[in-house]
């Protein structure tokens, strides 16, 4: 050890004279929170591909799909039953001779609508509830939190089934069921964030400048929670899409002749033995949707909150 140390010639080394002020120099233009997140997201190939696929599915489901096909999702033609995928019927036809291509995209529209609805409920009920609860605190917070704890004890499936029994099964009833239960997690997250933020200096500064409670929440607390809200939204959406497909699968959701990916999969599973394409095609679209939402959600979480990265 000693000898090896002595073998080193000091002339091999060169002192690195760094100006003390150099460290203070700002290397590039300041990057905002959202830009920073976007830079991180761009590095995540899986998330980007998922985003692209999601945009494509949206486009095909709402615009391209119905536009390039002359078939109706509801028109029956008993002379054209069980045709496999052909150049005329791209996804084949079902047992009533209905065109599967347009039916699959009609079902996808239902899924996307449900996802959007759940997201809106999350924002307008979950965020507001959580913000009020966390910001006001005290007695109000106690009461609101007890409410959430009781709601959380009731499985969403139960709420959905009860709603289906009272109202007629259909898209409105599903919307009610999902709207009633889906937002509680968001409310809890936002409340936690509010509690954390409302004692910080910038809130105090704004308050001492005379800002009202509403202004504090709207201008300072919500914008500072936005990253968390967006992350949570991305996990609410696939959960809601799954819930709708599940209800439709067991026959409690969308009713015939309307189509949902869940009901199409259910019909397909019944004819699996002889007409497997009736199951594979809607299943494929559904799984694609779920995988992309999950991957994009994961990517968004990593980008918006690198500390949470797992």
């Amino acid at each position: 050890m000693e000898t090896r140390y002595r073998e080193l010639d000091p002339s091999l080394f060169e002192s690195a004279d760094i100006d003390a002020y150099e460290g203070e120099r700002i290397a590039g233009p300041p990057v905002g929170f959202w830009r920073d997140a976007w830079i991180r997201l761009k590095k995540n190939r899986g998330a980007l591909v998922s985003l692209a696929v999601l945009v494509l599915v949206f486009a095909v489901a709402f615009v391209i799909g119905p536009l390039i096909s002359s078939h109706s999702p509801y028109a029956q033609d008993l002379s054209q039953r069980y045709l496999g995928p052909t150049s005329k019927f791209w996804f084949g036809t079902d047992k009533f001779g209905r065109d599967m291509w347009t039916r699959v995209w009609a079902g996808t529209r239902v899924s996307l609508y449900i996802g959007l609805l759940a997201a809106l409920m999350d924002i307008f009920v979950g965020v507001v509830y959580g913000a009020v609860s966390g910001f006001l605190g005290g007695r109000v917070d106690d009461v609101l939190q007890r409410g959430i704890e009781i709601l959380n004890g009731i499985p969403y499936l139960v709420v959905a089934i009860l709603a289906m029994i009272v109202f007629d099964p259909g898209i409105i009833t599903i919307s009610i069921a999902i709207g009633l239960t889906g937002w509680t997690y968001m409310a809890r997250i936002v409340r936690g964030r509010m509690l954390q933020l409302k004692d910080q200096e910038f809130t105090l500064a704004s308050r001492s400048l005379g800002a009202s409670g509403f202004r504090l929440v709207w201008k300072h607390l919500i914008p500072n929670s936005l990253g968390l809200i967006v992350i949570n939204l991305m996990f609410t959406i696939p959960a809601a899409i799954f819930a709708e497909a599940f209800l439709s699968f067991i026959g409690l959701g969308i009713q015939v002749p309307e189509a949902s990916l869940g009901s199409l999969i259910s019909d397909g599973a019944a004819e699996l033995r002889f007409h497997p394409y009736l199951l594979w095609l809607p299943s494929l679209v559904f799984c694609l949707l779920m995988i992309c939402f999950n991957l994009f959600g994961d990517g968004l979480r990593d980008a918006l909150d690198p500390k949470m990265r797992k």
Binding site: E149, I165, M290
Partner: protein, 308 residues
């Protein structure tokens, strides 16, 4: 700790109370009642009359209904003449429980192995495999997976029977279907926790003290990484319940889930509401046990709750 348990218990009972109350008023609001059902014989009609006192005012009926439910009496099925809902549920329970528990055990074992392997060989093929399985497991729902397994393992390869329930071999596909989600959840969880624990100072210390690699992993990493696995309990319970509705229907397994879906189709309201209450009780119990266990393991949670 006692205060914490007591608080949890109160919430549990409150949630149950609300669920049962809501189901009661829904059953009152529904068109038709046991009397108007032409399928029932006059004797049973009379029996029901006496038992529920449906001629009495609503609040008396409500009180009686609550008392009945508290004693485990969920009423009589409209569809299966003269049989009680509790009896029907208990009769179907063993099959569902067997398939569900088998799926959870299988999923826990495979999931933990996969998660541990992924964490130990971080950033290798095993790791990628675990991540892919985790994403697929949460993205491919049971109602897609079940027909797929039925088609490939059942019809094409002919390894397992695809329907009914006669011996153990019939439970393989249903349990396998349910276990995929368990595997992916547990693997993802285990991997994350292992990676986190392995970065802790006390692991470095254990290694520095000269404990062998395997010793550190078994004694320190695994033990600490497994603690938060408790939080998976309630979501898994709900998943197995929900999954059983699909899986039992697809594989024609005579369990509670299959019976429930059928009762929905024949509008057997008593059965629907009774099973709903039963499922809620299961879920709320799981939630309760999870909260208590978590409170025991992580004292910070109890303290945070008590401060309010």
């Amino acid at each position: 700790m006692i205060r914490y348990v007591a608080r949890r218990l109160v919430y549990m009972l409150a949630a149950l109370f609300i669920i049962v109350s809501v189901t009661f008023f829904i059953s009152k609001a529904l068109p038709g009642n046991p009397f108007s059902n032409p399928k029932l014989s006059p004797q049973i009609r009379e029996q029901l009359f006496e038992k529920y006192g449906l001629d009495e005012p609503l609040y008396v009926q409500y009180a009686k209904y609550m008392a009945n439910v508290a004693q485990g009496d969920l009423g009589n099925s409209y569809y299966f003449e003269g049989r009680s809902v509790s009896q029907l549920i208990l009769q179907r329970l063993p099959v569902s429980a067997f398939i569900g528990i088998q799926a959870v055990i299988f999923g826990l074992v495979i999931g933990m192995v996969l998660g541990i392997v992924a964490a130990l060989w971080h950033n290798t093929v095993w790791d990628t495999l675990a991540v892919v399985v985790a994403i697929l497991g949460v993205s491919v729902p049971t109602f897609v997976l079940a027909p797929m397994l039925q088609y490939w393992l059942g019809l094409k390869l002919g390894w397992f029977p695809i329907a009914f329930f006669e011996s153990w071999i019939y439970s393989v596909l249903p349990s396998l279907t349910l276990s995929v989600f368990v595997i992916s959840t547990v693997a993802r969880f285990m991997r994350t926790e292992m990676l986190e624990v392995m970065g802790q100072d006390y692991i470095t210390l254990a290694k520095a003290k000269g404990i062998s690699g395997l010793g550190v992993i078994v004694k320190h990493v695994l033990r600490n990484a497994m603690i938060p696995l408790v939080t998976v309990l309630a979501p898994l319970t709900i998943y197995i319940i929900v999954g059983s509705l699909v899986v039992e229907q697809i594989f024609a397994v005579p369990g509670i889930g299959e019976q429930f879906v059928q009762s929905v189709f024949v509008n057997d309201y008593a059965m629907i509401l009774g099973t709903t209450i039963f499922f809620s009780v299961l879920f709320i119990l799981a939630l309760f046990i999870q909260d208590i266990m978590y409170g025991i393991i992580d004292p910070r949670i109890r303290v945070a709750g008590a401060k309010e």
